[in-house]
Symmetry: C2
Subunit: 207 residues, 2 copies
Amino acid sequence: MPPSQPNFSTKERILGVAETLFARHGFAGASLRQVTAAAKVNLAAVNYHFGSKESLIEEVFRRRLDELNRYRLAALAAVNANPEHVLEDVLDAFVRPALEQSMDSAGGAAFVRVLARAYAEHDERLRKFLSDNYGHVLREFATAFAHLLPHLDKEELYWRLDIVAGALTYAMADFGMIKRRGETSEATHRERTAEHLIRFAAAGLRA
Amino acid sequence: MPPSQPNFSTKERILGVAETLFARHGFAGASLRQVTAAAKVNLAAVNYHFGSKESLIEEVFRRRLDELNRYRLAALAAVNANPEHVLEDVLDAFVRPALEQSMDSAGGAAFVRVLARAYAEHDERLRKFLSDNYGHVLREFATAFAHLLPHLDKEELYWRLDIVAGALTYAMADFGMIKRRGETSEATHRERTAEHLIRFAAAGLRA
DNA sequence: GTCTATATAAGGATAGAC
DNA sequence: GTCTATCCTTATATAGAC
């Protein structure tokens, strides 16, 4: 731990700034020069610590997704343990961890927008990286949804889940940029948002 | 017209190729060199015909959005003329023209993906361009939705519409890349897709 | 309108001193 | 680990011949 509070390690500062700039300008749109300038580190630091821009991007994802998916899987396990769980519970296990992360830290809000970009960009390498490292999470959720929506055939289910995941991610990303009213606390606000999104998604899946 | 385009003007070829590459790699990710190489025209042609990359991007939007929004407004006017219209009718006026355009031409499918990128990218200049030129269309739709959803206050309504528009655009973009089953005709396929999306969105809006 | 050639800037990445 | 300096590539844009 550094002696004075604001002094994060160079590596951490780069990751934080990269997250913000990738959210704002995209992966191709944000340059390493912008990143290092904003992080107040030397240009060469990125290559020293990460090797390449590509690896830096992956590290930005890894830093948050490891934690996010751990929470998501834990929440899903808890839901599955309850034999009377319903669709809304599974959606809750998907949405709530993301909302919590996005509101707990300043960077969390930026990261959800980065995640939304990853959905929109159909970049091959990025999708492969995410699928290789975190595909099992989505598959576990898909299984849970399949049990609750037996009237949908496999193709239809996957198509809808893709839309729902995209819509939820888009919504959460957009949401992070909306200022809440002063009177409601963050926790209350998050609660109401989660409810809205879950009802919205459940209605779409059941339709 | 067959897919081979022997005698398209240079300008048209650039627009078509740019649309495809912007869909695939994003606005920052696709370079003018890639565009001109794929269009088999000289690098200088872009600046001659469009002046700058920025203007080329705007032209890519203009070429399709003028037509798309004309159809959307016409469809909405027809819906409004029917005093017994329901939520699904308004959604239909929004979704169907986009689906038709995306299936009528090869470029149309790419354009819907370009549109989805514009939603995901929160680029200031691009949003301003779209808002300045096509904002009135979304406002007319918002008015129509407001009449049908009187239980939602203004803030809540706008938030939901934003999500719905984003989700629908994302879905249509993704959808253009899914191969349909051989046995169903394009028209049938489009019909079923429109129904799904509309029910999905209506359920989310009413929830 | 289309070409070649080039100006000028910005990009990612590395070498080597400290 | 961090710096300066630099290489090499790619980028957008323009000038001027044809």
